[in-house]
């Protein structure tokens, strides 16, 4: 770890990026995700500009007589069980599939960070109360918790989001707490206290920035998990409502046609798989890149 003056100085982000870049697989995952985000954004823009015309005429437009038609020049991914264009639905679904997972995880990350850092920093009774509560949530399998919550609140986009978010909170709280615990005892925290820094400052300026690494990784993987959970809920009939295109519900409603029109199950299935694969390899790449022990 001796870096001479001559060597180019890098920020931590740049350092991470340099190491991340080396991992071609993770890079590929990231490119896939960026592409998906671009698709999602452009379909949103298209809907705004055309006042949903494309959406109404291509995405949800049915043509029952042509149902289950296989891929052709006119319809690259074929038509689904209602004769809707699978390609268009796939594209329009990106925003739900990707963003719902992301939003749900963002929610649980925020809650998890607050709970986890309070528990980890203050310890003792506070820690005990918060973590016992997390234990309670953790003791209920997350899929089950989500199912019960959606069943209770009713199936709607927001409710699915809330359900998934709640079921992921304990994971994040634990991750944050664990890294707070390790960082809390480091000397630079003590140094800050010796300067008279407040708890608030210590948590937000010292502890949290240093526990970002596991959190970022956990979130990336969490989004992948959330997308799968949403698909699972769809399978149980508790996912996104029709005719909104969403990969999980496309897949689960197409599953009975798996042998008649392979394309309508395989395509959304692959969509989910590739997205999750991309998230996973990117998460792993980030983990390697952020792990200080793997430096150089």
């Amino acid at each position: 770890m001796k870096t001479s003056d001559a060597r180019k100085q890098r920020t931590l982000a740049a350092e991470t990026w340099r190491r991340f870049r080396k991992n071609k697989l993770a890079l590929a995952g990231m490119i896939v995700l960026i592409t998906l985000v671009l698709i999602a954004l452009s379909t949103i823009v298209i809907d705004l500009v055309t006042d949903n015309a494309i959406y109404n005429n291509y995405v949800i437009k049915q043509n029952l007589r042509l149902r289950l038609q296989g891929p052709s020049k006119a319809h690259l991914f074929g038509l689904d069980e209602f004769g809707r264009d699978v390609l268009m639905r796939m594209l329009w679904a990106v925003r739900y599939s990707l963003f719902m997972g992301t939003i749900a995880i963002a929610l649980s990350t925020v809650v998890g960070v607050v709970l986890g850092s309070i528990a980890g920093y203050y310890g003792k009774v506070t820690d005990n109360i918060i973590m016992r509560f997390m234990d309670v949530l953790l003791a209920i399998p997350s899929m089950l918790l989500a199912t019960a919550i959606v069943a209770a609140l009713g199936t709607s986009l927001t409710n699915v989001l809330i359900a998934i978010a709640i079921s992921y909170v304990p994971t994040f709280a634990r991750t944050v707490r664990a890294s707070v615990l390790t960082i809390k005892d480091q000397e630079f925290i003590e140094a800050a206290r010796a300067m008279g820094a407040s708890d608030f400052r210590i948590i937000f300026k010292y502890i949290l920035p240093n526990s970002m690494a596991p959190l970022i990784v956990q979130s990336t993987l969490g989004v992948a998990g959330a997308i799968l959970s949403i698909a699972g809920l769809s399978f149980l009939g508790l996912g996104i409502q029709p005719p909104t295109p969403e990969w999980g519900s496309m897949l689960s409603s197409a599953r009975s046609y798996i042998r008649e029109g392979w394309h309508i199950t395989v395509i959304p299935g692959l969509g989910i798989m590739i997205t999750i694969l991309a998230l996973n390899v990117m998460g792993d790449g980030l983990r390697d890149a952020l792990d200080p022990r793997l430096k150089n």
Partner: protein
């Protein structure tokens, strides 16, 4: 150690209390009238009202919760709304099936996860590393139910090797029927195991004691098995323990696909039919199971790691676990 186990068992009580409260609360929020569920859609208004009183649904939520907890402490989990049978019996009946499936799933995960993880770590950043990582991730990236369908299409229908559904009888029948659901369930966890194995192997590989072992002149195989793996296993065990919860959740889908008569399916059915006593009973059972598995993991932990054994008298062990988790 004995004292520690007792302490842990006692700690489970508040957790289970919390679990019952949360589930009771959520389930009571669910729209739908249990009386109507029991009597069906053609029941008369009087009999519905009668049933509601019978079930105590006319009382406030907290009173109902208290009376539920009251009978719970007497060991009575109540009767199911749907079929009016003892919840405890039904849950107890399904439990071994789910446990079997879960254990088989874990085994699949370990069988895939540990070798791949080791390979991947020893050949970090090579083609081998990347391809084995991707392959193991493909499994976890597929929605569970989709993978199940594809597997049964291939192995049951196309190849006719394995049964497509149900729980076989006899040892081989059972084993055969277990394969597909276990793979479906296990692949999801496998990726976590691969990851965990890989990173903990990578960590161990860098340790000084591995250098010491090399300097002794023992073979690479001995180094891997005796020095690396045994140390790397410790965090893996924790990870697997925590995955158990996911596994139980995954069982809800897998059991439905493969008509496996387990707790997961019981749970799905009960949730959708608002069978509150049944859901509560099953969840409590799952939570107990989950807590026991974690306790088991901690004990196993002590066997794998002599350092922990001496710490077991108290708090440090739990802190350690949190940190590595």
């Amino acid at each position: 150690m004995g004292k520690y186990i007792v302490r842990r068992l006692l700690m489970m009580i508040p957790v289970l209390l919390g679990v019952t409260f949360i589930v009771f609360f959520i389930m009571s929020l669910t729209p739908g009238d249990p009386a109507a569920i029991i009597l069906g859609d053609q029941a008369s208004a009087e009999s519905l009202a009668q049933k509601r009183i019978e079930l105590g649904l006319d009382k406030p939520l907290l009173v109902r919760y208290a009376s539920y907890m009251g009978s719970l402490f007497r060991g009575d989990l109540g009767v199911s709304y749907r079929n009016q049978l003892s919840v405890a019996e039904q849950v107890w009946d399904k439990f071994p099936n789910t446990a079997l499936l879960a254990i088989a799933g874990i085994l699949v995960a370990l069988l895939i996860g540990i070798p791949v993880g080791i390979l991947s770590a020893k050949k970090q950043y090579t083609f081998m590393d990347n391809s084995s990582m991707v392959l193991s991730l493909v499994g976890v990236s597929m929605p569970n139910f989709w993978l199940g369908l594809l597997l049964s299409l291939l192995f049951a229908l196309k190849l006719g090797w394995l049964p497509s559904q149900g729980m076989g009888s006899g040892f081989f029948g059972l084993l055969r029927s277990l394969v597909l659901p276990a793979i479906t369930l296990g692949t999801g966890v496998a990726a976590t195991v691969v990851r965990m194995t890989r990173s903990s192997m990578l960590e161990v590989i860098r340790q000084d004691y591995i250098s010491t072992a090399r300097a002794k002149g023992i073979t690479e195989k001995q180094i891997t098995n005796k020095h690396m793996l045994k140390n790397a296993l410790i965090p893996i065990v924790t990870a697997v323990g925590l995955q158990f919860g996911h596994l139980l959740g995954g069982a809800m889908l897998t059991e439905t696909i493969f008509s496996w008569p387990g707790l997961g399916r019981l749970m799905v059915d009960s949730i959708t039919s608002k069978d509150i006593p049944m859901v509560l009973g099953a969840v409590i059972f799952m939570a107990v199971m989950f807590s026991f598995v974690n306790l088991l993991v901690d004990i196993l932990y002590a066997f794998l790691d002599p350092r922990i054994k001496s710490q077991y008298k108290g708090r440090k062990a739990t802190i350690r676990k949190e940190v590595t988790a």
